[in-house]
């Protein structure tokens, strides 16, 4: 491994390990490998680790360990992190209705990109998007892999309420709102499934390292699936993907 990780304290309860300042799949896979080792063999005092595009922050209980005590273990895991250790991932198929009233910014995105609606949806549903990290709200995935021809700047004034399930575009990113919250992304559709459901056995559907693929459904299908989700008899389609 040729990485040169940079370690910094985050107060007296965190170690931040910087591996990369840009978004790359290689770094992402290394970070996943690091996290896997950390979870399998957590050093004393480690509470949890939060991965992001190019860094990981490891939180620790400062009554049980210190920054200096943790560094050798963490550095050992970084050095052993490999690009090849992460070979299987989940691929979730997420139904999205791109019709009104679920797509309030569709017209704007069509105008901005110069694409027609059909082409736009085809391009948005094509990739298997990689989940690089989770954050913002419970269950919210930061995705990579959107066709850059779909890029549209954020709304100048964020909406005070964006419904859970809304699928949006902000600059070169696409994403899906996990809970109803304020937001500034251009909304081009909505999914009837829940990324965060506090009643479910596993309340959060996704995690970093997984993939997702959007597929188009009609407004009628949206309502059907929404009802099934409500009745708890909808099963999301998942495939194991080799990466």
């Amino acid at each position: 491994m040729t990485l040169s990780p940079v370690y910094s304290p985050i107060g007296d309860q965190g170690v931040r390990i910087l591996l990369d300042t840009s978004i790359s799949e290689k770094t992402h896979v290394l970070i996943q490998s690091f996290i896997k080792q950390l979870k399998e063999n957590p050093p004393v005092g480690v509470i949890e680790a939060v991965p992001s595009y190019g860094a990981v922050t490891v939180y620790y209980d400062s009554t049980l360990t210190t920054y200096d005590q943790l560094l050798p273990d963490l550095d050992g895991y970084v050095k052993k992190a490999e690009t090849g250790t992460f070979k299987q991932a989940h691929l979730y198929y997420i139904p999205v209705c791109y019709e009104e009233p679920y797509a309030p910014d569709m017209e704007k995105v069509i105008q901005h990109t110069g694409l027609n609606r059909k082409r736009l949806i085809a391009m948005h549903t094509k990739p298997d998007y990689r989940i690089f990290m989770m954050g913002f709200t419970p269950g919210f995935p930061y995705l990579g892999g959107m066709d850059e021809r779909l890029a549209v700047p954020r709304l100048e004034t964020p909406r005070s309420l964006v419904k859970a399930g809304s699928v949006g575009i902000a600059n070169k990113q696409t994403g899906i709102y996990s809970i109803t919250s304020p937001g500034g992304w251009n909304i081009i559709g909505r999914s009837p499934i829940s990324l965060f459901d506090k009643e479910a056995d596993s309340p959060i559907l996704l995690q970093a390292g997984d993939f997702l693929n959007f597929y188009e459904i009609s407004a009628a299908e949206y309502r059907t699936i929404k009802e099934q989700v409500k009745q708890k008899n909808y099963t999301i389609r998942v495939k194991t993907k080799r990466v």
Binding site: P9, Q13, L18, V50, Y59, D68
Partner: protein, 318 residues
């Protein structure tokens, strides 16, 4: 089965059930929430004979009015919000007994902004992902994930009560929330994103706490800090106590309900021993930052931890 402790006659400004937080799910976007001032909640629990991570009530600036339905030992710690039982002042930082029919009310605040009410046996509430803490944004924990409403009923575990009463800590051990607070910080990690003059200014100037000070973050106002190039970073984990500085040049101290990740430059992070002081800031107060070493932070933490242990020991030996 938990028993009825009290009924809520007035909910207060923002009263929530909190324990020490929901850890282990930040990688899935779940903020830990939990008590803003963990020190006061821990001590409060020990004073009524509970484990320190038992859920209690976090009471913000304007307290609720509670009518008790049971005899129970309770304690009030943290900010002095002028608590009174049936109109008479009650002690702070010392457990006492309330009886069926007693009315606990709060008349204002003169020291700090968040008080903690703990009860023997512990409050009950909705447990979600291993914690009772109310996380308002995701509507989880506590009572339906929200702050108290009028006519809510609070439950507690009377069967777990250990019958501790009259336990207190000495005045010199009680925190004092000064009008000008000094918060010790560990610098970085984005120090190099700021001009050297701005780093110097950050430690030299005093800041005023703005009205935007809530469970998510505490926005400060002072002379503007300048970035060398950009105020944005590739999104990364954000921590309790981290001080973000967006393009506007005004710092924000991230608190218990922060987003788990953020994209603004971080100038420093408040040391864990001083987070309770940060939690007690209220609008209009002044704050200064003092840079310390990790070694120093560890020493301060050890002192605080051994004090908590000593109270626990004393409580168990009663």
């Amino acid at each position: 089965m938990p028993d009825i402790l009290c009924r809520v006659e007035k909910p207060g400004l923002l009263t929530t059930i909190q324990d020490l937080g929901r850890y282990g799910y930040q990688d899935r976007g779940v903020a830990p929430a939990g008590a803003m001032d963990v020190y006061s909640l821990m001590i409060g629990n020990l004073l009524v004979g509970n484990e320190e991570d038992t859920p209690g009530l976090e009471i913000t600036i304007m307290g609720p009015k509670l009518v008790f339905e049971a005899k129970a030992v309770i304690a009030l710690t943290g900010a002095d919000l002028h608590a009174a039982c049936n109109g008479s002042p009650v002690p702070q930082w010392k457990s006492f007994t309330v009886y069926k029919g007693d009315v606990l009310s709060f008349k204002g605040h003169n020291n700090g902004s968040r008080a903690y009410l703990t009860v023997e046996g512990g409050l009950d509430g909705e447990r979600f992902l291993d914690s009772y803490s109310t996380y308002l944004k995701a509507k989880i924990g506590g009572i339906e994930g929200r702050s108290l409403f009028k006519n809510d009923v609070l439950y507690y575990h009377a069967d777990r009560a250990k019958g501790r009463n009259g336990k207190g800590i000495s005045r010199k051990r009680q925190p004092v929330y000064l009008d000008e607070q000094v918060l010790r910080v560990i610098e970085g990690p984005d120090t190099s994103a700021f001009t050297p003059e701005s780093i110097e200014l950050f430690y030299r100037q005093g800041y005023t706490v703005t009205k935007d000070a809530d469970r998510m973050g505490c926005r400060l106002e002072g002379e503007k800090l300048s970035h060398i190039e950009s105020a944005d970073i590739l999104s990364e984990a954000s921590s309790f106590g981290t001080i973000q500085v967006p393009a506007g040049g005004q710092p924000i101290i991230l608190m218990a309900d922060r987003q788990t990740t953020g994209g603004y430059t971080r100038i420093a992070t408040v040391i864990s021993a001083d987070l309770p002081k940060a939690a007690q800031l209220y609008p209009g107060q002044r704050v200064r930052f003092k840079k310390v070493s990790l070694e120093n932070a560890n020493q301060v933490k050890q002192k605080k931890t051994s004090f908590i242990k000593s109270i626990k020991l004393a409580s168990n030996n009663q």
